[in-house]
């Protein structure tokens, strides 16, 4: 295991806030592992403990076999960290930032250029521009290059795609796949549930706790009941009316459709439901069984 966490605890405000609440998980060599959860789930605290920037209040954690408390100096040499907030020097140019980080780790840009080449060529035309003047997408690429320039064993990426549009997000995940192929272990966090499928394994997190850890397909398999999607011409009113139906267990909006589950023993009542909605004046009612997404699993685990 390149990252091993046992019963990790981190509290703030004199124990009032349990930011990380007894978390255990392992990340294998060259694995692309995702921490999936909203703000306040504890993702950043875990990253800061693993990168030795924060001391845990309980439990243990190792990175590449080294203890995050005792061996912090060794770990700092072996990991790359891209924090959620842009943390490069705004008044240094692209090239100067990269050179600075290479120098800091006793290496050169040339020596590890092959690792960052794919990403760096995209920002190279702007290499004399100050980092503070770059666009969001370019800042993100520069930060990734700086986190990689010393060829880390483990790469920690804290919400690298937050606030980034879908096109840039897709490009970013392609880059991560190529880095993984080069043998780098990657722990990445995201609040976007649809990105979970791009990871090999994921931990679904909420309020400092892990709700489930597995591969995305296995988490989906564990969804306990049949899930249906329903739509009609007036979606807002449909949601209100569905909430009144006593044989439904859950009901929530999900893009073009609303997702519903039936109470135990009431599966097979789809036609009854359609008739009921027709009787309430809904037109073009369509219902179909669907495979849950990670977001459906997350919602289910939260309840």
């Amino acid at each position: 295991m390149d990252v091993a966490i046992h019963n990790l605890v981190k509290t703030y405000n004199k124990g009032e806030v349990n930011a990380v609440d007894n978390v255990s998980l392992g990340v294998a060599k060259a694995e692309l592992f995702g921490l999936i959860g909203p703000d306040g789930a504890g993702k950043t605290s875990i990253f800061r403990i693993l990168t030795t920037l924060l001391l845990p209040d309980g439990g243990t954690a190792t990175v590449n076999g080294k203890d995050v408390v005792k061996d912090y100096k060794l770990i700092r040499r072996e990991v790359g960290y891209m924090p959620g907030r842009f943390s490069l020097y705004q008044d240094l140019t692209v090239e100067e930032n990269l050179g600075f980080f290479a120098n800091l780790f006793g290496t050169t840009i040339q020596k590890n250029y092959d690792l960052i080449k794919d990403i760096y060529v995209q920002i190279e035309p702007f290499k004399t521009r100050r980092a503070g003047k770059l666009s969001g997408g370019m800042k993100q690429k520069l930060a990734l290059c700086c986190a990689l320039i010393h060829r880390p064993v483990v790469l920690f990426l804290d919400e690298p795609t937050t606030g980034v549009d879908t096109v840039s997000r897709k490009e970013f995940w392609e880059m991560l796949k190529r880095l993984k192929a080069q043998g780098i272990t990657i722990l990445v966090s995201t609040p976007y549930m649809d990105e979970a499928n791009l990871c090999e394994r994921i931990a679904l997190m909420q309020n400092g706790k892990i709700m489930s850890v597995d591969t995305p397909p296995k988490i989906i398999q564990k969804f306990p009941t049949a899930l249906y999607a329903i739509k009609a011409s007036a979606m807002g009113r449909l949601l209100v009316d569905l909430r009144q139906v006593d044989f439904l267990a859950s009901c929530y909006a999900f893009g073009e459709y609303h997702h519903i589950t039936f109470k135990p023993g009431k599966e097979g009542e789809q036609q009854t439901l359609v008739q009921l909605m027709n009787a309430k004046g809904h037109d073009d009612v369509e219902i179909k069984r669907i495979e849950p997404t990670i977001e459906d699993c997350f919602i289910k685990l939260m309840n």
Binding site: P38, G40, S135, V164, V167, Y252, G255
Partner: protein, 248 residues
């Protein structure tokens, strides 16, 4: 949604030097409509929104917001709109009640009305026990729901929401949209940006900005038909892929 037009722009343009951040935007938004404003980073969304909110003077073109002119009546515009964003919405070091009173006061509501309406609001949000707690101590989801309520506290004609649900958990995100639907049903126009494509589906109409131009404007269903796409994600990808600009 009604036929009454509350936002009307005609060739609205903003240039910074040679750079055309927003290029001849022409569109209308109706009373009570939920209008999704999408686009890649750097497409010109923020620039356009700043003009519509009366914060930035256009280079050319015209626009009327809630009936007021974006050149000459910017103070009137500000009084008649609400605004919230993911980045800034409430003062973290003021309590829930203090934030409500503060924003009520800013918009010139009488003290008595602020007090009464604040009590109703706090009850509706189930924040009775938290009324005297600092906003900074609330979970993000509650904060965002409170921020939205504060943004429409003074009964604006239009509320601008800039990525209101970023980082919010999936259950709270849906509760937030329930609030948006409620507001729209009372006649408030909702102008919203988001990076969540499922949320694009909840809008009455969607506009897509690409390189400063409004590339598409229609209902989610029509856009999917037009671009032969299964999802809004595909529509977005199809439109944004051709973008030349990569600036924020």
């Amino acid at each position: 949604m009604s036929d009454e037009v509350v936002i009307k722009t005609e060739k609205l343009t903003k240039k910074f030097g040679d750079f055309v951040a927003a290029n001849e935007l022409t569109f209308e938004v109706h009373r009570g409509e939920i209008f999704g404003f999408l686009g890649a980073n750097g497409a010109g969304k923020t620039t356009a929104m700043r003009m519509l909110c009366g914060l930035s003077i256009p280079s050319s073109g015209s626009a009327k917001i809630a009936g007021f002119d974006v050149y000459k009546q910017r103070d009137q515009i500000k009084k008649n709109i609400g605004y919230m964003s993911q980045k800034f919405s409430l003062y973290e070091d003021l309590t829930v009640l203090e934030n409500i009173s503060f924003f009520g006061g800013i918009y010139g509501l009488p003290d008595k009305r602020v007090r009464e309406q604040a009590r109703t609001l706090i009850n509706e949000l189930g924040l009775g026990k938290e009324a005297d707690k600092l906003v900074g101590s609330l979970p993000l989801g509650w904060k965002q729901k409170l921020a939205f309520s504060v943004a429409i506290f003074h009964g604006p004609k239009i509320v601008f929401l800039d990525e209101p649900t970023g980082g919010v958990d999936p259950v709270t995100r849906r509760q937030f949209w329930d609030m948006i639907y409620d507001a729209a049903s009372t006649g408030i126009t909702v102008f919203v940006t988001t990076h969540y494509m499922d949320e694009a589906e909840y809008c009455n109409r969607i506009s897509m900005m690409v390189d400063g131009v409004m590339k598409a404007l229609d209902t989610p269903a029509n856009l999917k038909k037009q671009y032969k796409a299964q999802s809004m994600d595909e529509v977005f990808f199809e439109l944004a892929r051709g973008a030349k600009r990569k600036a924020d």
